[in-house]
């Protein structure tokens, strides 16, 4: 029996392919294989002989089967290795192009601002970009003869000679939305009004269209001190560091008292850094809503008071993200869009941080 074992183990080890292996299996353990024949011979043996030879033959059969299986696996592994060896790729080749989209900084910043003010309970109100002069001016305490009207560089819509109604305007600020919102929902109210606004001005720092966010908070006891806190909270959240503000007396027809608000910054080597240093940068106008404006919005100024402010979205985007030229915002230069744009999944929120 040992010679059988030695013979087949040797032959299996030498087998070079699966066919040889199959032939060996048939020769050894197939129905008419040598070991099968030996097993048939068991019947002719004495019980004593059988008791010795039977288990031995079974063991031999198992051993041969195991050897066959192991060799088969080895051959298959070798074949796979050989195939993989030929499947080498130059993985330094470039991939298939995949366009990567971007979000415009104005959209991104507007979502950032919304996220902050939402935390303070400010809803978002929107309104028409073509406005009547009543909503854009009169309701905001800017009557027809007011010098502020001339200073606003307003765009007017066309009227033919035989039309005697006054032209509409492209809203010069988003403040008319405040009036419309007050009319619609009364007080108390907390809203921010984002959107496009228009002024007939075009030079290095002005474009005829830009973006504003106006804020309005009206209640029974809201004061200018609340405004200062709100703006400081806002700027600190927006710039991601503590930002001090400085209020300066000013005048807007729709607020009283009115204040220009500066934020703390440093000017170094032509770069503005917000939230440090001893310099101040003018960023917004604000104040306590003028009683006439409250009345125009249908709110009783003897009962309610509150603040309003207006920030340029483009401007604070430039400040935060170091974007030098306002005009480029509206030029759609692919290089600019890709450089200053934001990833689609980079959605601002307060719990993860506004900016990556």
């Amino acid at each position: 029996m040992d010679h059988l074992r030695d013979k087949y183990i040797a032959l299996i080890a030498e087998a070079a392919d699966e066919n040889t292996l199959e032939d060996l299996r048939v020769q050894a353990v197939g129905k008419k294989g040598e070991i099968s024949l030996e097993m048939r011979a068991l019947g002719k043996m004495s019980p004593e002989e059988r008791q010795v030879a039977g288990p031995a033959l079974n063991a031999l059969k198992d051993e041969i089967n195991s050897a066959l299986a192991a060799k088969k696996q080895a051959l298959s592994d070798a074949a796979l290795d050989e195939r993989l060896r030929t499947e080498w790729l130059d993985v330094t080749l470039p991939t298939r192009a995949r366009n990567v989209g971007t979000i415009h900084p104005i959209s991104q910043v507007w979502e950032e601002v919304t996220a902050i003010f939402a935390e303070l309970g400010f809803a978002v109100a929107e309104g028409p970009q073509i406005e009547t002069d009543w909503y854009n001016f009169d309701a905001l305490n800017i009557p027809g003869h007011h010098p502020a009207r001339a200073e606003m560089d307003t765009f007017y819509t066309h009227r033919t000679a035989d039309e005697d109604r006054p032209p509409h305007v492209l809203r010069t600020h988003t403040s008319p939305v405040q009036i419309r919102s007050m009319e619609a929902q009364g007080a108390p109210i907390r809203i921010i009004c984002p959107g496009r606004v228009y002024r007939a001005d075009y030079d290095q720092t002005h474009t005829p269209m830009f973006h504003q966010i106006e804020g309005l908070a009206i209640d029974k006891d809201i004061s200018m001190a609340n405004l200062k806190w709100t703006l400081e909270e806002f700027f600190s959240a927006y710039f991601g560091r503590s930002v001090k503000t400085r209020f300066r007396a000013s005048h807007f027809p729709f607020t009283e008292p009115s204040a220009e608000v500066d934020i703390q910054c440093s000017f170094k080597d032509g770069t503005v850094t917000v939230g440090e240093g001893d310099d101040w940068l003018e960023v917004l106008g604000s104040g306590m809503v003028h009683p006439s404006v409250l009345s125009a919005g249908g709110i009783d100024p003897n009962e309610y008071q509150g603040f309003a402010f207006g920030i340029g979205i483009d401007r604070i985007a430039m400040l935060k993200y170091g974007i030098p030229d306002l005009r480029a915002f509206f030029d759609s230069d692919l290089r600019w869009l890709r450089h200053y744009g934001f990833a689609s999944l980079d959605q601002p929120n307060l719990h993860a941080g506004l900016s990556r």
Binding site: A97, L120, M288, D331
Partner: protein, 798 residues
Amino acid sequence: MKFTLSWLKNHLETDATLDVILDTLTDLGLEVEGVENPAARLSEFTIGYVNSAEKHPDADKLRVCQVQTDEGETQIICGAPNARQGITVVIAKPGVYVPGIDTTIGVGKIRGIESFGMMCSEREMELSEEHDGIIELPNGEVGQSFVDWLAQNDPAKVDPVIEIAITPNRPDALGVRGVARDLAARGLGTLKPLPVTPVAGNGPSSVDVIIDADTTDGCPVFMGRVISGVKNGPSPAWLQDMLRAIGLRPISVLVDITNYFTYDQNRPLHVFDVDKMQGNLRVHRAEGGETIVALDDKEYTLAAGQMVISDDNGPESIAGIIGGAVTGCSDETTTVFLESAFWNNIQIALTGRALKINSDARYRFERGIDPAWTANGLELATQMVLDLCGGEASDVVVVGAIPDVSRSYKLDTDRVQSLVGMTIPADTQRATLTALGFEIDGDQAHVPSWRPDVLGEADLVEEVARIASLTRLEGRPLPRITEGLPTPVLTPIQRREQIVRRTIAQLGYNECVTYSFIDQPSAELFGGGTDATRLENPISYEMSHMRPTVLPGLLQAAARNQARGFADMALFEIGAAFHGGEPGEQHLQATGLLVGRTGPKDVHGSARAVDVFDVKADAEAVLAAIGAPAKVQIMRGVDDTWHPGRHGKICLGPKMVLGIFGEIHPKILTEMGVKGPAMAFTLWPAEVPMPKNESVNRGAVTAPDLQAVERDFAFVVDTDVEALTLVNAAAGADKALIDNVRVFDEFIGGSLGEGKKSLAIAVRLQPTEATLKDADIEAVSTKIVEKVSKATGGVLRG
């Protein structure tokens, strides 16, 4: 508004430094826009004394001077003809920058002899054009700062010029005196008294004045007087210096006096040359069509109703705005009529705007001058004319009456706390208002006549807070509206807009923000460009009309990028499009634009020209993201911005269009200068129905355990049969069993013959109750063939 520091000090007694004054002005709301301080660039020049001067051994015109300075005797070579022993001079030591020659002085040798500085002329220090020799001072100590010397002896030369921005509510600060009053109220000094002594007249004015009855609302009071025997000519140097410092050109003493009062007291005046007048003056409204050549030498045609001052010859002055050239003063003028009137601010604003005249007078009258100062201004100006031009004044002509602008408001001293949030003692509040000219009478504050802006209690609070300084304001938390967590604030459509934006960006598009106005030809191509959306005063030809759709702006952006060498791009914009010119005639569009190829050529050969199915896929993905129904109709028939055969309207019924996708019409591309191919989609996010059910519960998932079976069918149909018709027909064969129908092959022509195509679909059958048997599959297959055949006329391909 410009003024010099010394001019300010004519009205304000103060020791405050320039910097403190500047900071205070800005803090008070009189924002400093600029300051020119000549002293700053002369601060290093000092005074010296020439101990000796001897001829340079090698140069006839040079002198070697030994000059006493604060650092002892030093040697300076000088070429000025007046350089000599015993004069007091101004020295620039080595290291000092000399502005007039744009040079920093160094130590040098001149013809072999060392020189340690420079003795300067006026021009070298930019004090004047004087350059005949070096400055010889009549006095001065060696080592004294030259700036200090100038301040004592010739202050105009080092007088800082301050420019401030005046908000429209503060006409009083358009006079230097008003600025001084604000600073004094802040405690930066005291306001000097300005006594007015009426000039006694020598008899009735030879010029009389009448105001037409219909003009008294525009001109409630008109005062004036004749001054005869005056001598006109150049103003004295001090007056010329004052005006020149603030950027005004001195003209003649009579004109300069009126300008002085305009800036000093916000009191515009006018002088007529009586010898050039005919008859008396009449204040009236123009009938329309009259012309007048004004002092700016331009001719203006008056419109009916505009106020003018006429004599017998016709209009001689556009009231409150600009005088006429004919009666203007010249050096020969000997008799003048000096006018001090009060004009209604609204009427001046309207006339000034209509005639497009920007004068100092209009600027002030339309903001509002002090009506109570009409007479005082006239008296003070008369005195100045007499002082500078001589002559005799007549009695004052007064027509009408000074309008009564007196009013008072309740001063609630707690209001500063409740409105602003600052704690200011009541006494301080009253003192502040008093210093600003208010009269406090019990709890009533009477408004001074020069403050037309104060119209209510809130204005009193503003004044108190402004003078106290808003820098003292400390923030106080804004209470939450509700206790607990904030609730969401975005409206469903706002949220939808954000989802649309981020989905399109995720699909590989770059977001643009383009102008809302475009040029008329482009607007017309996209169905707009009519007068309804036209701007009256566009900033340029390219921005004349509100955009009818977002697409033209993106195409223009694409053309610009192609000009920069970028052929392929994916751009998008979400924003308002304007279907009319009335408020609210705007709607939200989301537009994506693909131009060129899907990417640069690559080793994988995957780049290809963009096609309709790219934008269709993107449009569908965006609609899916905002919850649009999966089952939509794709219809045809849009305006001719799109390729007539390669577009689709995504609809929920014939009138509910959610979006359009397709290829841009080749003619449009040509017009817009874009090299194609170009595909686009436009979606109207607001048209997608909002979910009726607000529940966020999604119900149970349907995931049957039974094996699904997929069967393929190929149908031969006419080429104009749309795949969606076929798919819908097949799906309708057994709605319960058929889970999905998908087109996987289209084959046109070949053995099928002309006008035929083959569409192959894979139908997935999903049993829910029992495993499908061959007979079941056979039955549904037969039904599918029947349905498709009925709907499309197609037959199963053999």
